[in-house]
């Protein structure tokens, strides 16, 4: 994956709804087009991030699983 990451956010160990709340806050502080890399360990974050992206319209470009963590790439769209 060769996406350029602008901001990184570590949500490892946090439970619902903190990963979503922190992601929202991070994206609010970014410019349109920039990409956020968010790492979480809460398995619920997989579905929650998809729902969040669906609701807010920010693009969930990719998510992958690495060493028990879930990594999400989110592009701010507006």
């Amino acid at each position: 994956m060769s996406v350029q990451v602008n901001v990184k956010l570590d949500c490892k160990g946090l439970s619902c709804p903190l990963p979503i709340l922190k992601t929202k806050k991070a994206v609010d502080g970014m410019n349109v087009g920039e990409v956020l890399e968010m790492t979480a360990t809460d398995p619920g974050a997989v579905n929650d991030m998809a729902a969040w992206s669906h609701r807010t319209g920010h693009a969930l470009i990719e998510h992958k699983q690495e060493n028990g963590s879930f990594i999400f790439y989110i592009r701010k769209t507006r």
């Binding site: 160990g13 946090l14 439970s15 619902c16 709804p17 903190l18 979503i20 709340l21 992601t23 929202k24 729902a51 969040w52 609701r55 807010t56």
Partner: protein, 206 residues
Amino acid sequence: MSIINKEVQELVDEKLKESIDSKLNGWVEQKVRSLMEERVSALEDKIKARETRKKRVAIVASKGSLDMAYPPLILASTAAALDMEAAIFFTFYGLDIINKHKYKSLKVPSLANPAMPVPVPNILGALPGMTAMATLMMKSWMNKAHVASISDLIDVCRESGIRLIGCQMTMDVMGVKKSDLIDGIEIGGSATFLDYAAEADIPLFV
């Protein structure tokens, strides 16, 4: 002569009637069409406004135990993260969630709570100290799972512009003053909440 005159008159009348009819029909049709267009475009605007306006969540928080304080706060703060707007109406024991003397010490009931992970027989749950123990247990699990604390969630709600409405009637009944509540609370009654909830997409009672 008069017969011919009469026939001519009738013919003229008929032509006149036809012409008036067709003019009238044309006019009515035009009028109806323009009224319909007006109506349709008004409806379209209404639908568009509905589609583009933020989704709205209206939550009633009626319970004051620690376990029942979480759902309204989690749902409201998540709603804000999902670009929705939300309000929580704190009523009856739910008012404790925004009572500054109480919100940091909400408790989990040990009695009549069959959902306790280590099931406690009611006869034991009634013993002194059991509520404190159940509360301590829940707090330690929540800490271990890094769940936000009640006061953190309240902060998120306030920062995200979620309306936190304290129930006036409950305050009167329980002798709670506005100064007993945390900052950033508005006071209102059931009508205040229902006025907001009437336009809600997601109404919830906790």
